[in-house]
């Protein structure tokens, strides 16, 4: 169930890497931002949870756009290592800003849905988890449709496949980069908003999210949208099975074991094809 949010995280990361050639170490911070934005909207702004989710997405996307405009745009054409270092800086800065703003004490978003599990035959699931799954699925579908069917998505894919020729077609590469980064940050924030009521909120919560996102991208292949969507689900399921059959303490380890195995056997990613759509 939670695998779908891993997909959201992975898609954001893989798009930013594939299109912009930026390794976004601060990705998890947009997840954290989404969670805290939900908390703020809910507790301080007293809007309801369902409205808080889009608010969190908008906040995350806006922060992403700002980050690109201010920090990444001047670095276009800089080496990937330079940009990587800057993103590590953003990671540290955002995490400490969250610590400053919210304090080190974990926060809790009250569950917006009944806790009574829904049962259908032998299967039972908590309504909140089902909700997280469904909304994540819809967001992934939406992201896919934007990329596959809209003029903006076409320009993003063209930029991904051949930046110089896309510019010749009249695509503003700077604008596409800002939109892509905002898109990725918005998806990460969505994951944070959705998982907010499932877990506790604390300033360094994004680190684990970043790890999961990187794992998903490695599983799915760098720059591969469908690979990231499936990779997230695979990672989620593997973790559930590992936690269920071995021990819940092994939950996070299982994911990493799988990644090591995949990298050994299929270094281009589990779902690597010749085609990378973006």
């Amino acid at each position: 169930m939670l695998g779908a949010t891993y997909s959201l995280l992975g898609i954001g990361l893989t798009l930013v890497f594939g299109l912009m050639n930026v390794v976004n170490f601060a990705h998890g911070e947009f997840y954290t931002l989404g969670a805290y934005a939900t908390f703020a909207a809910l507790v301080l702004g007293s809007v309801n949870f369902f409205l808080a989710i889009p608010i969190a997405i908008v906040v995350g996307a806006a922060a992403g756009a700002l980050c690109d405009r201010v920090l990444l745009r001047p670095l276009r054409g800089a080496s990937i290592d330079t940009v990587m270092l800057v993103m590590i800086g953003v990671w540290i800065a955002m995490q400490n800003a969250e610590l400053l703003g919210w304090g080190g004490v974990a926060k809790n978003i009250p569950t917006p849905l009944p806790t009574q599990p829904l049962t259908a035959g032998p299967v039972s699931v908590a309504p909140l988890r089902l909700f997280v799954f469904v909304v994540s699925g819809l967001l992934i579908l939406g992201a896919h449709l934007v990329l596959a069917k809209t003029k903006l998505g076409r320009a993003m894919r063209a930029t991904f496949q051949d930046r110089e020729t896309a510019a010749l077609m009249g695509v503003s590469i700077d604008r596409i980069h800002t939109i892509t980064f905002a898109f990725g940050a918005g998806l990460a924030a969505a994951a944070g908003a959705l998982l907010g009521p499932v877990f506790l909120l604390y300033p360094s919560m994004g680190d684990l999210a970043s790890l999961k996102a990187f794992s998903v991208v490695i599983l799915g292949g760098l720059g591969n949208f469908a690979g990231a969507a499936l990779g997230g689900l695979v990672l989620g399921i593997a973790e559930e099975l590992g936690a269920g059959y071995i021990s819940s303490g092994y939950r996070d380890a299982v994911g990493f074991i799988i990644i090591v195995v995949v990298l050994l056997l299929r270094p281009a990613g589990l779902f690597a094809r010749a085609e990378r759509v973006g």
Partner: protein
Amino acid sequence: MLALERVTARYGAVTALRDVSLTVGVGEFVCLIGANGAGKSTTLKAISGLVPAAAGRIRFDGYDIHGLAPQEILKRGIAHCPEGRRVFPYMTVDENLAMGAYVRRDVAGVAADLERVFTHFPILAERRRQPAGTLSGGEQQMLAIGRALMARPRLILFDEPSLGLAPTVVETVFAIIAGIQREGTTVLMVEQNAYVALQLASRAYVMETGRIVLEGPARALADDEHVKRAYLGG
């Protein structure tokens, strides 16, 4: 229509163009020939805004377009059909053509131009939903030309349209380009195949190591001793 005045362009420390001046008049077919690395592609990139000119002036319809972003130059009516075709390989033929019309807002005009491209290139009509990367080299070149036409330009820059194509296909491609020019679109073409280029064009420029070294009517250049020796293999 187009005038470059003493244009210089650099890639870092490498000076690719030195004081390049050339003009293209309305309706003309002008070609630019020269050896590999002479700076022909860079000249076209300077015109379309991909490579900023370090010095000099580039005017189109009398307006200074030097320093404008590529999309602004495209909107003014200059399309660039790049070297090596550069179709978007994972996008379908339809999507590639749609990218050609990216800056246009006139939906009806775009639809009409799409029909026109399919009439000119029936093979593309048969492959509309096929990824461009799966087309043959000749088909990709037709797609690249069709994509440039989708911008409804007044001037098209062609960069080595015959590169890497089979001889029979080369003939077709040149016939298409000649047709485009006859129908009223101005053409500036870069070619290594100097023999054909000088037959098609009315005027020509010869470029060597970043400079224009010769210019004149294409027929006169075809008879020039230096051109014959260096570019026509005789």
